[in-house]
Structures are given as C-alpha cells and as structure tokens.
C-alpha cells in the first residue's frame, strides 16, 4: 500500500506529463473502441435484418421491361428500394410464381436431404408460405402528395412480424397472439401451399378500367366474400373497414394520431393505428386496404410487390429466387438474405481496411507513448537513485512504475472508451451505416485492457532498465531525455 501511495502521489505531481500520456493512449483506445462499436452495431443491424427478413423473398416488377402494358397513364416510374411506382405485377401471374417458388423450395430441401417423406416416418412439415401483396401509389393525402400503399393487413402483419403499433389497434381479425398460425389468404391456398387465384375476378372495360365480372365470378367459383369485398371497395361496403395505418415518421410529420381521419384523394379513412418506426420506407407510408387501393387507383388485378415469407427453418429461398428470376420475365425476385450478405461483405471489407489503419495508428501511437514514458522516467533518474539509496529494491522500484502505469492505463482505457463511444456516433453517421449504435459492455473491458496493456508495454523496457541502474550512476551520469 505504501508503494502504491508513492505511485499515486508521483502521478499527481506530474499532471501535464501524465495527462499527455493518458491523452496519447486515449486516442489509440478510442480509435479501436469506436471501430469495434460501429462494427458490432452494423453487424447487429445486418443480423437483425437477416433475422427479420432472411426468409423473405420480395418480388417486384422489373423497371425496364414493363409487364403492365395496360397502364400507359401510370404515375411516373420511380423506384425507392423495393418501392416501385408505375410498374405492376398482374395477380394472374401469382399462381405461376407460387408454383415455381414451391417447386424450388421443395427441391432445395430434397437436395439438403431433409423433409423427404419416408413411409411411416413423420417428417417436419413445411408450412405453406405466406404471400403478402402490396400496391404502391402516389396520391394526394390531405392536400399533400404521399406514398399510399394498399395492403392486406392480416398478411402484411404476418410477413412483417417486426411491425408494432405505437398507438391504435390492429383489426379484430388479425390474430396478434398467434399470427404464425394464420394461413388463410387473400390468395387461396391449395394443397401443399400452392396458390391459386380465383380468376378472373376482373375484366378490363373499354376505357381501360378493371370491372368485376359477375359471370366470371360464378364460373370461377368466387366466394360470396369476394363479391362483398368488391362491393365494399366500390363504396357500398362497411365503412368501418375504411381504416388507414400510418408509418411512424409520416404520422409524426403530419401531426396525425389514432382516431383522426385522412382523406386519400376523395375518400376518407379513419386512422386505426400508427406504426413504430422501423428505419424503412414503411415509416413514410399511408397504408389502406389493398382492395380499396386497387379500386381507387384503377389497378384492379395488379400489385406492385409480393413478399413471400417462407415457413420452414433455413428454407432455400435463394434457390427460389434464382428459379423465379430465370423462369418469369418481367419480375425481379430478391432474397433479403442475399441483400444482407452483400451488405455484410461490403462492411467486412470496410472494417478490415479501417482496422488496418487503426492498428497502424496505434503502433505509431504506442511508439510515441514509449518515447513519452522513457523521457519522463529518465528525468527521474536522481529520484530513482535516492529511492534505491534509502533501501528500495529493484522490484519495489519496478512496482512503483507498474502501479503508476496501471493507473494511467486504466484512466486512459476508460477515457478511450468514452471518447470511442462518441467517435462511434460520429463514424456511424459519417459512414452512413444507418444502424443504431449499440454499446456492448464487453467493449469497456477490452478498452480497459488495451489502455493498461499499452501503458505497461510502453513502460516495461524503460522501467526494467532504470530500476536496475546503479545508485552511483544516477548521481554521476548525464541522462538523455
């Protein structure tokens, strides 16, 4: 304890030199800490996306090759991430998409050697996938242009299971407690998850508008529900169903809350809920029922996006993506797992580059620290001689230096951690990673260890050499500082 006290007192009496030393180490620790935090945060964000959407395939129209030739007066073509305006997928293509998808998944599983039905042996069943269609339009909402997205709330809630309401309630028929069991679909599921469309519910009239065809309803065996939906979409249905859900950022920007109404073009919707922000385009959208959106914007029988959430562990959605892109022209299937993989690879490359820069910086920094330490020790030569003369052994002297630099290293480690957290926020915004900065507690221990090790590394040689100096030399030698 006495030696520790001497070390502490000695530190206190050299605030400038020790402050400089702490600062030098803080820079090194902060650099590595910030890089680690940013890396962890970005990796976590990517993994979070993977866990959310890893088994989800999104299918959207190809921008350059239109498949909606009927829509000559479409809104201007525009793509924001998965949001495509002015290009559509006909619902009549969905059965083919479903067929190819299911075949690819099944074959993929067979290649993996899983889920091949053997007589008498029960196997894990593949739940049918969930298909969630969307229709993107740009429309005037309360006098301002906005992205209005038609969705089937039940399906959307199921596919985007990370959706949460910050206020409001889901429709009563959304099974929020056990959403994974909800398979009933807008598209009717056949055996084995095969999708069929009760087609053709619509026909295009002379003016290019889609109209419901009663004759076809009967011949195709449409249910009464379809007829009711059609009637409701045309304004004759239950007005309680004219419910809109708002993205969090949109609601916040417009000052809208649950219970208010929004007017989309000329139709009023009661706001049923506001979504929590998810850092996606959804935050800026107004969601209305798909069937109404299709009717209002004259897109009956068309959708902008089809999300498919596979319902098996490690479903080979990549295989399905490849098969869909190969066999159906006019659509682009994208596996979110692949998107995340590309992001991950890019970030890994960036991380390695930055790590190399940081390590080089730290190496230079430690050399500087070494010089500072050596300088500060050599000016203490006579003091070292005095301590030896009064009875300090070499080991005791070494301990004084050790304690001093343990303290310096600890302070620098903590300071470096704090500075590193700050730098992480700056780096995060500069690099545009867009992820939330996540501070993992273990990084503090790494920072502390790095600070202490840097400090001890810098002190070791000078301390070893000086603690072994002869007393007589301390009073006769001119030491270079």
């Amino acid at each position: 304890m006495k030696i520790l006290r001497l070390a502490v007192l000695d530190l206190v009496r050299r605030p400038k030199k020790n402050g400089l030393l702490v600062f030098a180490i803080v820079i090194s620790v902060a650099l590595l800490t910030s890089l680690t935090i940013v890396s962890n945060s970005a990796t976590s964000s990517i993994l979070e996306v993977v866990s959310k959407t890893g088994h989800t395939l999104t299918i959207r129209p190809v921008i350059t090759a239109g498949i909606d030739e009927a829509d000559k007066s479409a809104l201007q073509n525009l793509t924001i991430s998965e949001v495509v305006f002015g290009k559509y997928i006909p619902e009549s293509a969905v059965p083919q998409i479903s067929r190819i998808y299911n075949k690819a998944i099944r074959e993929g599983w067979e290649r993996k050697g899983g889920l091949v039905s053997n007589p008498g042996i029960p196997v894990i069943s593949i739940e049918p996938p969930t298909w969630a269609p969307r229709l993107y339009t740009k429309a005037v909402v309360d006098g301002h242009e906005a992205i209005v997205t038609g969705i089937d709330v039940n399906k959307e809630y199921f596919v985007r299971f990370w959706w949460n309401l910050s206020s409001g309630e889901w429709p009563a028929d959304v099974d929020v407690k056990n959403v994974n069991t909800r398979i009933d679909a807008m598209y009717v599921m056949g055996a084995g998850g095969q999708v069929t469309v009760e087609k053709p519910r619509y026909r295009v009239d002379e003016e290019g508008k889609a109209v419901y065809d009663e004759k076809r309803r009967n011949s195709a065996g449409d249910s009464d529900q379809v007829a009711r939906d059609f009637a409701y979409a045309h304004g004759a249905g239950d007005e309680n169903k004219d419910v809109a859900y708002l993205g969090g950022a949109y609601a916040s920007a417009r000052g809208l809350k649950v219970g208010d109404t929004v007017t989309v073009e000329s139709r009023r919707f009661r706001i049923g809920g506001v979504l929590e922000e998810t850092n996606s385009a959804d935050d800026y959208m107004v969601f209305i029922p798909l069937i109404i959106a299709q009717h209002m914007f004259h897109r009956e029988g068309y959708i902008s996006l089809l999300s498919v959430r596979a319902m098996c562990p490690n479903c080979p959605v990549g295989d399905a993506m490849v098969e869909l892109n190969r066999n159906i022209t006019g659509i682009t299937a994208v596996s979110q797992l692949d998107v995340a993989g590309v992001q991950f690879d890019f970030f890994n490359m960036l991380y390695r580059f930055l790590l190399a820069v940081v390590i080089a910086t730290i190496a230079v920094g430690i050399f500087s620290i070494f010089n500072i330490v050596a300088g500060s020790l050599y000016v203490r030569v006579r003091e070292i001689g005095l301590l030896k003369a009064v009875g300090a052994s070499r080991f005791q002297l070494f301990r004084i230096f050790l304690y001093e630099h343990l303290i310096i290293g600890a302070f620098a480690g903590i300071g470096g951690f704090v500075a590193g957290v700050g730098m992480a926020y700056v780096l995060n915004s500069l690099l545009g990673i867009g992820s939330v900065v996540r501070i993992v507690p273990s990084v503090l221990w790494y920072a502390l260890a790095l600070g202490i090790l840097s400090s001890l590394f810098a002190i070791y040689y000078p301390a070893y050499r000086l603690s072994g100096i002869k007393i007589t030399d301390t009073f006769r030698t001119q030491w270079e500082v």
Binding site: I3, L9, R13, R382, G385, L386, A389, G391, R394
Partner: protein, 242 residues
C-alpha cells in the same frame, strides 16, 4: 576521537577501483587501506578527482572494488550478491548526497519516513512518527514538519536528508559533500550535528568535503590525492569549538 571501541567497524584492505571507459581505464582508488572505528566522525578531504566519492561509494557498497576487501563489522561486503547488499545497506548504511533532493510530493515528515516505504524498521517498538518528529525537531525543523520541500531553504533540505538518514538507526552514515551548497552557518550546523550524533548515538559518519574548516571539526581527516590516501591524521582541534 571516540575511543570507546578500538576494533575497526569498517575496514578497507588494499582497495583499488578502476573504471573502464572507452577512452581508457581510469584508476580512481589505488591500494587504499583504512580502518574506521564505531562513533568516528571522519572527513575525507582532497581536490576534485582525488577519489573521495569513489571511496565513499566503495565503503557503502554502492560500488564494488576492482581489487581488495571491504569489511563491515568483520563481514566482507564487497562479495555479497546484489540482493544481499540491498538488505545489508538497509540495515547498516544511510546515505546523504549533495544533489539528492527530498521527494517533492512528500512533506518533511514523510520524506524522513521514506525508507520505511520499502522495509520495516529494525525495532518496531514505539511510534515511528513520534521518532521521526523527535529527530526532525532535534535538527531545528520542528516548525517545518508538514512543509513541502519547495517551502524549505537549502540548509533545511539538507537537514531533512540527515533526518532521513537517522531514522533507520544505521551503523554508518556516508555523506558526499553534505555542506557543499550551504552557507557557513548551515555548514557549521550540519557538521556540529554530525559530531553530536556520533557522540550521542555512536553512529559512524564518513563525509567528504573540500572545506578544511569543516574537516577540522571532525575526529579524523583522511587526505586523498589521485586515488590514494596521502595522510591520515586526527583533527587538529578535537573537540573543536562550534
């Protein structure tokens, strides 16, 4: 001269010390033989480079002789290992250096007790702090006990060094030019203190000096030149007046 004990406490037998330098060997001590008794106050005098400091270092086992033997209380110390020498020095020697200032971060009392940061006192009976205060007060620093070194004069700093040397109750105090930077009053105070200590405690003190007035107050004067002892004589005026 203190004649209580005729057996030499310290004995140097044909001691030589040669420093090997890039420019060639330098012989600092040549065939020095010397006996110093318990309670002696011995002054080493001579011009610069005569070997005074080297002789003090060899006596205090801070340097090993190139040749010859150094004995303390009959034990040969020049052949002890470094580890044993550390223990031996703690037990038997205290040093006062011309340039060794007290530690700046410790006050007078703490500087006096500095050695006990590294080892336990020989006899731990009694309060060390009280003992230190007694020594400090006896050296005229009673009003400076809790002062920091930067608040002290040169003479007071040297008295702190003496207090620190005394606290361990050594057999021998070795002082290299202890009065070099002091005014006459302080020089005399230091040397009178040395004399009093040798009388009262039986401590042997060997110091080097250029100052003959100071040397003359000691019990013995050892004249040195070119690494050899020219003459060894008792002080001309024992006991000299203060």
């Amino acid at each position: 001269m203190n004649t209580q004990n005729s057996q030499p406490l310290l004995e140097l037998r044909d001691v030589s010390k040669t420093f090997k330098l890039p420019s060639g060997d330098v012989r600092a001590l040549a065939h020095v033989s010397l006996g110093i008794r318990r309670g002696d106050l011995v002054a080493l005098v001579g011009p610069s480079g005569s070997g005074k400091t080297t002789l003090l270092n060899v006596i205090g086992s801070l340097d090993r002789p190139s040749q010859g033997e150094v004995l303390l209380e009959g034990i040969r110390i020049d052949t002890l290992s470094e580890e044993k020498l550390v223990l031996f020095r703690r037990e038997k020697f205290s040093f006062i250096f011309q340039d060794a200032k007290p530690l700046r971060m410790l006050n007078v009392l703490e500087n006096t007790l500095l050695p006990f940061n590294f080892f336990k006192p020989k006899n731990s009976n009694g309060n060390l702090k009280d003992a230190a205060i007694e020594i400090i007060t006896s050296l005229g620093l009673g009003h400076r006990i809790y002062h920091m070194p930067n608040q002290l004069s040169g003479g007071e700093i040297q008295r702190v060094a003496i207090a620190r040397a005394l606290i361990t109750r050594p057999a021998v105090i070795l002082a290299d030019e202890p009065t070099a930077n002091l005014d006459r009053t302080n020089r005399l105070f230091v040397i009178e203190t040395f004399k009093r200590l040798t009388r009262e405690t039986g401590i042997t003190i060997v110091f080097s000096t250029h100052d003959l007035e100071i040397a003359n107050i000691s019990d013995r004067i050892v004249q040195m030149k070119d690494g050899t002892v020219l003459d060894e004589e008792p002080s001309p005026c024992p006991p000299c007046p203060a």
